[in-house]
């Protein structure tokens, strides 16, 4: 079992190494050499991922069937002594990680296959697919890690792959900037995450996740709260939650399959995953949950409103991702990790589907902007059908998967305000007055309901603007379906996006379900009514005076630029100036002083007899006067 999981982690890594070095090591026949190299690299990309997916699937089946005695399976390769707490290089398969492993490998496989078609004309396909493989390996390491430091290793390597892939088309300065921004913002979060690991590991006396999760009752509330809050900083970075969400919309500069893989289904899910993995700790820290609830409330509604005003189809989906991740965070804050993970899965399926569909559309329409699309329904019937499934799931319409998971999350958030904090089993008594989480809970629930309505609105708007109305100029008549290697992954992903909801046997909460569908339809109806009035105009005008602010995502980027980026630049220049004039100036000054002093000393031996005699006389005078005075 452990060997299997270890292979699942290592295979994509080896695939990455092979994909990077292989095509360069082999000499291809001159005829169509580039094409052969791509084909060669594609094998390295697809096969290891496929095997890893099978291994992850088998591991999941065995864990879920209880073939392992119902408990997690762990294995340690070696223990690294650091001089303090040792780092245990090991893996562990829990129910959560087994399931998440399947999600990661399946989405990664779909993306790898899809990319063979999407990127076939790209000279740099070998490095591109190798980075996806490396990313898959890193994400699996996060999922299966048994030790927080090992987890952190995978966590940061994911960030690197994200950087490399966003910047894949580095010829364009904008892509390069987006890549740097993504890495730096997530790294800022990661520093907090690392410190959180320190706090919790020292509290538990071990880096092992098992030890940390079992020994938390022995930790003080302060340690728990500080530790989990610091972890939350990293979660906000990776899962693009307010206030560290700004990198995600820009990250859409990368190739569309990357947006599907990293920025929709997997990497951004890592933050939610880690909270669920360490959930007992978070349950015992009510303050952290309250903070998480506020973050979630801000993120879900703000991002949904921003999505409503974007013209770029991928940016709509990006803001939608932030909003939906905040939805999961909200469910976590409402103490229901099952609902959050359920939504994580359905979201992984339907958002990956939506991004891949967007890729098909963009591939054909040759633009990201919805103002350049429209009327694609007839030209691309399969894409139209799959996108419709994706949007239905996003809006939470039955019977699509999103309906069930969104309902579970909403029900959890609806129940939270009533529940007193600290009632979770094993939780330490809260030091926070119960009224505050109660109020926070109501805010969270209210925003969640509002978000459902706005989600209905932006999904409908995107759906109408791309597939309905008159075909706009650029799309022309050559718009048709994409190649089979791109269509098949989309069709395959549409199945879980539609049906995954039935995998969980729990019945929907009919009250919240009816409310949420009604709200979603309300939002959709408002947009539809506006659109009907003038099909060529953007229904975003519904937002009225808010539209400009939403389009700019409430000027957060501008504010950060003024608050952080420019001061740091200024400081950097100040340091360089100070280094030259003050620090090195002192050094040069001491050199000059030494030379000056030597000039004074040189007077005694410059060969000028007059000075010698003057010195002699002066010295004699001083001695005589001294002898008289003192004597």
């Amino acid at each position: 079992m452990m060997v299997m999981v270890a292979c699942a982690v290592l295979l994509p890594f080896l695939g990455a190494v092979g994909g990077l070095l292989g095509p360069r090591a082999v000499r291809f026949a001159a005829r169509r050499a580039a094409w052969r190299a791509v084909r060669f690299a594609a094998w390295f990309a697809v096969v290891p991922t496929a095997v890893a997916a099978i291994l992850a699937g088998v591991a999941a089946v065995r864990v879920l069937r209880g073939g392992t005695g119902g408990t997690a399976v762990a294995g340690t390769l070696t223990v690294v002594e650091t001089g303090s707490l040792p780092v245990a290089v090991g893996l562990e398969v829990t129910r959560l990680s087994a399931l998440t492993g399947v999600l990661v490998t399946v989405v990664a496989l779909a993306v790898q296959v899809y990319s063979v078609g999407y990127m076939r004309d790209d000279r740099r396909y070998p490095s591109y697919s190798a980075f996806i493989s490396l990313f898959t390996s890193a994400m699996l390491l996060v999922v299966y890690a048994a030790d927080l430091i090992v987890l952190y290793v995978g966590w940061e390597i994911m960030g690197l792959c994200s950087y490399l892939l966003i910047g894949h088309w580095w010829e364009d300065r904008a892509n390069s900037r987006a890549a740097v921004k993504a890495f730096l913002v997530t790294r800022l979060g990661d520093v907090g995450f690392l410190f959180g690991i320190f706090v919790l590991a020292v509290g538990a006396g071990s880096f092992r996740i098992d030890d940390v999760v079992t020994k938390y009752p022995a930790m003080s509330t302060t340690v728990l709260t500080v530790g989990t809050l610091l972890l939350l900083v990293g979660v906000a970075g990776k899962s693009a939650q307010a206030p560290l969400h700004t990198w995600l919309p820009d990250a859409m500069a990368g190739p569309t399959p990357i947006s599907a893989l990293i920025h929709a289904a997997t990497m951004v899910a890592a933050g939610i995953f880690i909270v669920a993995r360490l959930f007992p700790l978070f349950l015992a820290a009510p303050t952290t949950l309250a903070v998480l609830a506020i973050m979630a409330a801000l993120g879900m509604l703000g991002a949904a409103l921003a999505a409503l005003a974007q013209d770029d189809l991928k940016r709509v989906l990006a803001y939608s991702t932030i909003s939906q991740l905040a939805f999961m965070a909200g469910a976590l804050a409402a103490r229901d990790d099952d609902a959050a993970i359920f939504h994580l899965f359905t979201h992984g399926a339907f958002k990956a589907l939506l991004f891949l569909c967007a890729g098909l559309i963009i591939h054909r329409a040759a633009t990201n902007l919805m103002s350049g699309m429209g009327g694609l329904r007839r030209a691309m019937p399969i894409t139209f059908a799959t996108t419709t499934i994706g949007f239905a799931a996003l809006m939470g319409l039955p019977p699509a998967s999103g309906f069930f998971s969104k309902d579970a999350a909403l029900a959890a958030m609806g129940a939270a305000p009533g529940a007193a904090p600290g009632t979770a089993p094993g939780a330490v008594p809260s030091a926070v007055p119960s009224a505050v989480p109660g109020a926070v809970g109501w805010i969270l629930y209210g925003t969640a309901l509002a978000t459902v309505a706005v989600t209905g609105a932006y999904a409908t708007r995107a759906w109408l603007r791309t597939f309905f109305g008159e075909p706009r100029a650029q799309t022309g008549d050559h718009a048709r379906e994409g190649p089979a290697s791109m269509l098949w992954p989309v069709i395959l992903l549409a199945v879980p996006a539609l049906l995954l909801g039935f995998a969980v046997p729990a019945a929907p909460h009919w009250g919240t379900a009816a409310l949420s569908v009604a709200l979603a339809l309300l939002g959709a109806g408002a947009v539809y009514a506006t659109w009907r009035g003038a099909p060529d105009a953007d229904p975003a005008r519904l937002l009225g005076p808010l539209r400009r602010a939403c389009e700019q995502a409430f000027y957060v980027d501008t504010a950060y630029n003024a608050l952080f980026v420019r001061p740091v630049r200024w400081l950097a220049h100040a340091v360089v100036r100070a280094d030259d004039t003050v620090v090195d100036g002192a050094v040069r000054g001491s050199g000059r002083t030494a030379r000056g002093l030597s000039g004074v000393l040189r007077l005694a031996q410059n060969g000028n007899a007059q000075i010698y005699v003057s010195g002699l006389v002066a010295g004699l005078l001083i001695i005589v006067v001294g002898a008289v005075v003192l004597g």
Binding site: E81, S84, W170, G192, V199, H573
Partner: protein, 505 residues
């Protein structure tokens, strides 16, 4: 492990010093053509690597805390000066790093086009190697100091012979500044000698400063620390470094950053902290403060640099800040971090300077604004290697740079008993901020130089990476990966030694 025959051991450790010394001496008498000269240098440095590897192979890793391959002969009895050499878990990795980097420098030189004054260059490099290796092998305070000083002269010539246009001023600044530091260092060493009557580092470390009153320890630690801090370099004693690096030839920069800076930090691990524990305790908060200021200051300075080599030089200030922060925590994990960071920085910054040299070689400048962008398009292999080295340097997990930084921060989270925890928590937070800034300047640099449309300058006809360059760089790339993925390889050697000298207290 089977015990090595008694005679074989001193032969190994002595030949580590004799081979390059003889090689340098013979070079003065030989008149060789350029090609033969290059082969000669390659052979001598390769031959030096052999006993080092043999020493590493026969090293008993289960007793990594003990001095092995020891040789202890009287040298100048009147001064009680002994020729006392040996390796343990602290010095062995650095000895190996030195021999390897020097060899790789000769590999690089073997393909270099510059041939003027090659003989002088080669003998200077070999002498430099003697000094560097001797510093890490010496177990006698005065012997340590002698080797510490031996390094300065050949380094001066390396900068002055093959340096850039401002080489004279840079070389002068380098030698005056570091000599001044050495004088202070010597005063500190003599203070220890006058108080304890011995120069034997092993005995001094064993007694844990028992014979030294606290006040003396503090004075000795400050003076020795100042001397070492110049070499390290610690902020604000760093300004000789950027000039020296910018003007030095590629191999000079590589050895300067890769090995010479480590001599300063090694001194802390070998002498200052074990011999003067009370002094270390008193001064540690200051050391930590200067270290974290150096981290942030270095990073900010990098952010505004125009010259690639100058930027890498300032990045060394930041990275050495992490090493010093590790020492300042006085915990086993912190000192392990520092020793790990030493090796990692030697490998990564060595590689970075090789690459910067290659860039300068091809474009004729290392000015980022002049270079423009698009290196990944024009020189894809060089651009990719540069990306790799930068990512390693910014401390990405899975590559060597991570472990030193992470463990140093972890050490600061729980400093040794008696040190102010809140203060060190602040250090940790500032250091963490420094890692973000470090990532920022490297990524901004990569973005400017490797991304974007091609700049106005076209690289010379040399083309992309050549074979001799690749053979000098690939070992570094592999080691960065090995230590990053398998940190145990290094921690298992250093940890026992560190535990011994910190826990005996």
């Amino acid at each position: 492990m089977t015990p090595v025959p008694a005679l074989a051991v001193p032969v190994l450790i002595v030949s580590v010093l004799i081979v390059p010394a003889l090689g340098a001496a013979l070079l003065l008498g030989l008149r060789l053509q350029v090609r033969a000269l290059k082969m000669y240098g390659l052979a001598v440095s390769g031959l030096t690597l052999v006993p080092v590897v043999a020493m590493a192979v026969t090293f008993d890793y289960r007793r990594a805390a003990q001095i092995q391959h020891e040789v202890d002969l009287p040298w100048i009895p009147g001064l009680d000066l002994r020729f006392h050499l040996g390796v343990d878990g602290i010095s062995l990795p650095l000895v190996a790093l030195t021999a390897l980097l020097t060899f790789l420098c000769f590999v690089y030189l073997s393909g270099d086009r510059r041939t003027e004054r090659l003989r002088a260059m080669m003998s200077a490099l070999l002498l430099l190697e003697v000094g560097m290796l001797g510093t890490f092998l010496a177990l006698d305070l005065l012997l340590f100091f002698v080797f510490f000083e031996v390094v300065l002269i050949p380094m001066y010539f390396v900068i002055a012979i093959w340096g850039g246009p401002g080489r004279r001023a840079a070389a002068l600044k380098f030698i005056l500044y570091t000599l001044l530091g050495s004088v202070v260092l010597l005063l500190g060493l003599l203070l220890i000698w006058s108080q304890t009557g011995t120069l034997d580092i092993v005995a001094l470390a064993h007694s844990q400063g028992a014979a030294l009153p606290r006040a003396v320890q503090i004075v000795a630690f400050v003076t020795i620390g100042l001397g070492l801090a110049v070499k390290t370099p610690m902020w604000p004693l760093h300004t000789w470094l950027p000039d020296a690096h910018t003007e030095a030839p590629t191999v000079g920069s590589v050895l300067l950053a890769g090995v010479l800076l480590k001599m300063g930090t090694y001194g802390f691990a070998r002498i200052a902290i074990p011999v003067l524990p009370d002094g270390a305790h008193a001064v540690a908060p200051w050391l930590g403060a200067f270290a974290v200021v150096g981290i942030v200051y270095g990073a900010l300075a990098c952010l505004a640099q125009r010259d690639l080599k100058r930027m890498i030089a300032y990045s060394s200030v930041g990275h050495m800040g992490f090493v010093l922060l590790g020492f300042a925590t006085l915990t086993p994990v912190g000192v392990n971090a520092a020793l790990f960071g030493n090796i990692a920085h030697g490998l990564i910054t060595g590689l970075l300077f090789f690459l910067a040299g290659a860039v300068k070689d091809r474009y004729g400048t290392a000015d980022m604004a002049e270079l423009g962008g698009g290196m990944l398009g024009r020189l894809p292999y060089l651009g990719s290697l540069l990306t790799f080295a930068c990512i390693a340097s910014l401390g990405l997990p899975g590559l060597a740079g991570f472990w030193g930084e992470m463990l140093a921060l972890f050490g600061a989270f729980e400093p040794a008993e008696g040190l102010s925890r809140p203060l060190f928590l602040v250090f940790m937070a500032v250091g963490g901020l420094g890692t973000v800034l470090t990532a920022a300047y490297f990524l901004v640099m990569l973005s400017r130089v490797t991304h974007g449309p091609p700049g106005p300058l076209t690289p010379s006809a040399v083309g992309d990476v050549r074979t001799f360059e690749l053979s000098a760089w690939v070992p570094l790339v592999l080691l960065i990966l090995v230590f990053g993925l398998w940190p145990k390889a290094l921690l298992a050697i250093t940890d026992p030694a560190v535990q011994t000298f910190l826990e005996a207290r």
